[in-house]
Amino acid sequence: MTKWVGGFFIVFLMLSQAMAIEPGEALKDPDLEARARVLSLELRCMVCQNQSIDDSDAPLAGDLRMLVRERLLVGDSDEQIFELVTARYGDFVLLRPPVVSRTLFLWFAPFLIFAVGLFTVWRLIRRSK
């Protein structure tokens, strides 16, 4: 089940995937390469406007793509890679902001609004009966 849900997210993530990688950048191991692509979608190209490192052909984005792949080859987990990159560039590099106190509203407001909306509709219907 969780794998399915995860699969869904990856499919939708790829909405914006564009692939700027250069020939020879790709890893030989297809599983590791697939992980590298998904990780690349989550990391912002620091010198671009609104692109992930997967989309950007800026040299800095290329360096970061290589870094991600080097760490994957060494055997780092996704979390370790995120930690390494965040330590270097700060939270700004993460296109999916971490859930911390200053992003609580960002993450939960949509669901709160949806719940309030449903509750309002429910009350309207009850009242009109």
């Binding site: 699969g7 909405l15 995937q17 564009a18 692939m19 950048e25 609104n50 999916r96 509203f105 009966k129």
Partner: protein, 641 residues
């Protein structure tokens, strides 16, 4: 001289808009018929003035009058005529002039239409349009004058950003603005109604038409922008959750909600308060979009100018118009008719649910787009909110939305009528399952989540078709007559809902089932992707009207029917000193083959990026089908209905 004349009529338009903003209100309050009717003439005069100013600016671009600062900065003698003209709105000042031109065009058309509405209401609508005109003409004249001169005039212009030199992008801003600015009519209707206490079903029926027009052009405008991004940026992506894309998505989502809520108000007189609030907010989001794009607070490819003064000015317009309208709303709210009774399972509750989904989606885009600014302004550091955020939040909302959507059109007003929908929707579900299996059998593509999404897409399409035939009532005789007499709203909703399903299919195909290769090739090397084989024959230089281009030839190895050679280019624009990628795309309904040319490597080989995007064309076909639904909804009801 022509430019001075344009400048003069622009100031004249500002004067006329001052009159248009005040006189009709005075006339309406005193019930002076002739003063109220004068509003029509003022609206026409304003449109003619702005039209002349716009024509003057266009002329300056065509003859390359570089003594005008924006012509010098955005044009070039060698540019093809079409892009000289498109250059008029390819910059901040000119695009704002287009904005007010569209605004005045709406008033102009309105002045000839809707004669069945009461005179004082019509006068007030035009007055509100006049206020918006005053605000934006003032903005143009005082902060962003397109007729500013440059002394001494340069001999040659700087040219237009090469990525904007494209037919789709020439048409994208006008379409988008017809949509964006069209929401001003909803706002004007709401405010005029609140001012005059004229809020009845007739009001909503007239409003519905304007909302539809704005919505369908916004749909087309956004789709064209996405199509342009797909083929011009050379990445094969079609939606990037870029702040400026989001800026156009917000009024679209709110406008879609408004479209549904105004139907209830028009047919049943219900949800009056919510419809008014949505009309105000939709225009508010259009202004937010204009603010985001024009102030330069967000870094984006679309932001031409970064000038805090302009941002503050638009923010002031936003605060006064929306704040004022909301105050009016708060004052009038107790007087507005409360909603009549309806049951849990009824069309009213379905449309309310639709509005909950769309309002949440709008709020999500709003929060996600503005949150980084907000966190930064509070001194809490810099964060990024990108595609992964939007995908994560939208997905849990989308799934229930897709599941419940086809039920809506089957429900009747007020009462529970569940039995009627069981048979047609069961058939729709069975058909959707069959189509999904058929697709699997034909393509053998993998990925379970993609098939579940595909089932959702077919469910939307089949559900829409079922709703259409249900209304047609095929068992009865004379069905072709019934087809002609069918209420336009049924045709509209079936097309629009099917359009969403079609678009969803395109998105699934292009994301879950795409294939991609990046290779460095020497002339004569072959390249295989998803069963297609191409031979790279080399790259040659060609000359365009104002660019030089490297063009590669990829020839299909075995002749597949109709598949011809692909000729991707990299263009170097001489005047602008900028590059663009011109992807070569073999377009089919079933799939696109998309090739982009990369740089030359040291060993003489060339980087080629190639994708196969199954079903991708359906994204834009779906959008066109949705817009067609909008057109169908514009048709007048036939007399027998």
């Amino acid at each position: 001289m022509i430019a001075e004349f344009g400048h003069f009529v622009l100031i004249l338009a500002f004067m006329v808009s001052l009159l248009q903003a005040t006189l009709p209100i005075y006339g309406a309050n005193r019930q002076l018929i002739s003063v109220m009717q004068f509003a029509d003439y003022l609206a026409r005069a304003q449109f003619i003035c702005i039209g002349i100013a716009f024509a003057c600016l266009t002329y300056a671009f065509i003859v390359s009058d570089f003594s005008l600062s924006i012509v010098a900065n955005n044009s070039h003698v060698s540019k093809p005529l079409m892009y000289k003209i498109a250059g008029v709105w390819g910059n901040h000042e000119g695009s704002m002039l287009l904005w007010v031109l569209v605004l005045a065009a709406y008033s102009f058309v309105f002045s000839f239409m809707s004669q069945n509405l009461e005179t004082d209401f019509r006068a007030r609508v035009l007055a509100v349009q006049g206020w918006i005109g005053v605000a934006f003409l003032g903005f143009i004249i005082f902060t962003s004058n397109p007729f500013s001169r440059l002394f001494p005039a340069p001999f040659e212009g700087m040219g237009l950003n090469p990525v904007l030199q494209d037919p789709a992008l020439a048409a994208h801003p006008p379409l988008l603005y017809i949509g964006y600015v069209g929401t001003s009519m909803a706002f004007a209707f709401a405010v005029a109604g609140l001012l005059g206490d004229k809020l009845e079903r007739v009001w909503a029926q007239a409003l519905r038409v304007w909302v539809l027009v704005a919505w369908l052009f916004l749909t087309l405008g956004i789709a064209l922008g996405s199509f342009w991004a797909y083929y011009e940026l050379g990445w094969g992506g079609f939606w990037f959750w870029d702040p400026v894309e989001n800026a156009s998505l917000m009024p679209w989502l709110a406008g879609t909600a408004l479209l549904h809520s105004v139907m209830v108000t028009a047919q049943r007189g219900a949800f009056m308060r919510w419809t008014i609030l949505l009309a105000i907010l939709t225009f508010g989001l259009s202004l937010v979009g204009t603010f985001l794009v024009r102030s330069g607070v967000l870094t984006s490819v679309h932001a031409f100018a970064t000038d805090p003064e302009r941002g503050v000015y638009i923010l002031a317009i936003l605060a006064t118009t929306i704040g004022g309208a909301l105050l009016l709303y708060a004052r009038a709210r107790p007087k507005l008719a409360p909603t009549q009774e309806f049951e849990i399972v009824s069309r009213e509750s379905a449309l309310l649910l639709n509005n909950v989904f769309l309002a949440t989606a709008t709020a999500t885009v709003f929060i996600g787009t503005l949150y980084p600014l907000f966190v930064d302004a509070l001194g809490l550091g810099k964060i990024s909110v990108g595609a992964p955020y939007f995908s994560t939040v939208f997905l849990p909302l989308m799934i229930p939305f897709v599941i419940v959507l086809p039920f809506g059109p089957f429900l009747s007003w007020q009462r529970f009528s569940g039995r009627r929908l069981v048979l047609p929707l069961s058939l729709a579900l069975i058909a959707a399952i069959i189509f999904t299996f058929a697709y699997y059998t034909f393509t053998q593509a993998s990925s379970w989540p993609a098939y579940i999404s595909l089932l959702g897409a077919f469910w939307l399409i089949c559900g829409a078709v079922a709703a259409f035939f249900d209304r047609l009532d095929i068992k009865r005789s004379g069905r072709f007559k019934r087809l002609r007499n069918m209420p336009p709203s049924t045709v509209a909703s079936s097309l629009a809902h099917a359009g969403i399903g079609i678009m969803l299919m395109g998105i699934i195909g292009a994301t879950a089932w795409k294939s991609e290769r990046v290779v460095a090739l020497m002339p004569g090397d072959a390249l295989e992707i998803a069963g297609y084989e191409f031979v790279y024959e080399g790259t040659k230089s060609i000359n365009g009207p104002n660019y030089r281009s490297d063009q590669a030839t990829l020839r299909p190895r075995s002749p597949v029917s109709g598949l011809t050679e692909l000729l991707p280019e990299r263009r170097f624009y001489l005047a602008e000193r900028g590059q663009t990628t011109e992807a070569a795309i073999d377009k089919r309904l079933s799939r696109n083959i998309y090739a982009a040319l990369g740089e030359q490597l040291e060993d003489g080989s060339r980087v080629i990026r190639i994708w196969v995007h199954p079903l991708v064309a359906l994204i834009w076909i779906g959008a066109v089908v949705m817009a067609l639904g909008g057109f169908a909804g514009l048709r007048r009801r036939s007399a027998s209905q």
